[in-house]
């Protein structure tokens, strides 16, 4: 069986464990009694006024999209990092080092620009 199968077995073990717990909780747990107040969404002691259509700050979206951009750049450093010593031993060290420094310079410029444009400010 290939390695992918082993990972799946782990997932199934986790799911099976959760199922056992669910079963045990259903057998031993108290049966819920319906009470309209109990089934309302939680609020700190007052009747809930604002429902879940809460407006969300655009900052979360901006953070998420900046994360994905920088994450792609970081992912490209991994193959570089892993073969860096090999490149040095085969004589291509300087070229690879400089090409990655150019890439990192672009990265730093982007980060600097984000900071300057206050895109990363939370208030």
């Amino acid at each position: 069986m290939p390695l992918g199968g082993v990972i799946f077995i782990v997932i199934f073990i986790a799911l099976f464990g959760a199922f056992l717990v669910w079963l045990a909780a259903n057998i031993t747990g108290t049966k819920p009694v319906y009470n309209p107040v109990k089934y309302e969404p939680y609020e700190c002691g007052i009747p809930g006024i604002e429902k879940k259509e809460t407006k969300i700050s655009v900052k979360y979206y901006l953070t998420a999209i900046l994360f994905i951009l920088f994450d792609i750049e970081i992912i490209f450093m991994y193959p570089w990092a892993i073969s860096f010593r090999e490149f040095i031993s085969t004589g291509g060290g300087a070229f690879v080092f400089i090409s990655m420094m150019v890439f990192i310079a672009i990265f730093i410029f982007g980060l600097f620009w984000e900071v300057k444009s206050k895109a990363l400010e939370w208030d």
Partner: protein, 178 residues
């Protein structure tokens, strides 16, 4: 059926089913979750092909990208109205028909292209053999020799996208003025 084949068909089923659910679900939140599941399925398929690095990258980058979609969905959609906007109206109908046509064209094209590739041997491709480490090193070697210009251009492209995203989020007006 061997374990390999079973795993492949299972994963293919999960990936395709969740991919279909992305477009069949009426609620955008569930669509985003199904898209995440599709990405995980594709990543698992990469694992069965011994492309471990690509599988990890698929999880980190693509699953992360779906997260962006998820926050956008939560942020922008007043769900009750938008569910109807997606399911009713002449314009939506036209878009549906157009996408079915596009999809059918893609499927036919993919089959036509892959038939000619079926007979070819792929074992001489260095990225296909070995375990995780060799493939990643091969990737690094190719990336930093043959495709070095594309790699640097990618950095600039990502910078442009970052600037564009910030500019969009900062533009005044609209429903979500800060």
């Amino acid at each position: 059926m061997t374990a390999d084949a079973f795993l492949f068909w299972f994963l293919a089923f999960v990936t395709l089913a969740s991919g279909l659910s992305v477009i069949l679900m009426s609620n955008p939140i569930y669509s985003a979750l199904c898209l995440a599941m599709t990405m995980v399925g594709i990543s698992a398929l990469f694992v069965t092909l011994n492309a471990f690095f690509i599988a990890g990258v698929q999880l980190i980058v693509y699953a992360g990208a779906v997260m962006v979609l998820f926050t956008m969905v939560i942020m922008l959609f007043d769900l009750k109205k938008d569910v109807q906007a997606f399911t009713k109206g002449k314009f939506t109908g036209a878009v549906k028909i157009a996408s079915v046509g596009l999809l059918a064209g893609l499927v036919v094209g993919a089959i036509a292209m892959s038939v000619s590739l079926m007979g070819e041997k792929t074992t001489d491709n260095p990225v296909m053999v070995g375990t995780g480490m060799e493939t990643t090193k091969a990737l690094g070697n190719i990336l930093f020799s043959k495709y070095i210009f594309g790699f640097e251009a990618l950095g600039v492209l990502l910078l442009v996208i970052a600037v564009g995203a910030v500019a969009l989020a900062r533009s005044k007006g609209g429903t979500h003025e800060h």
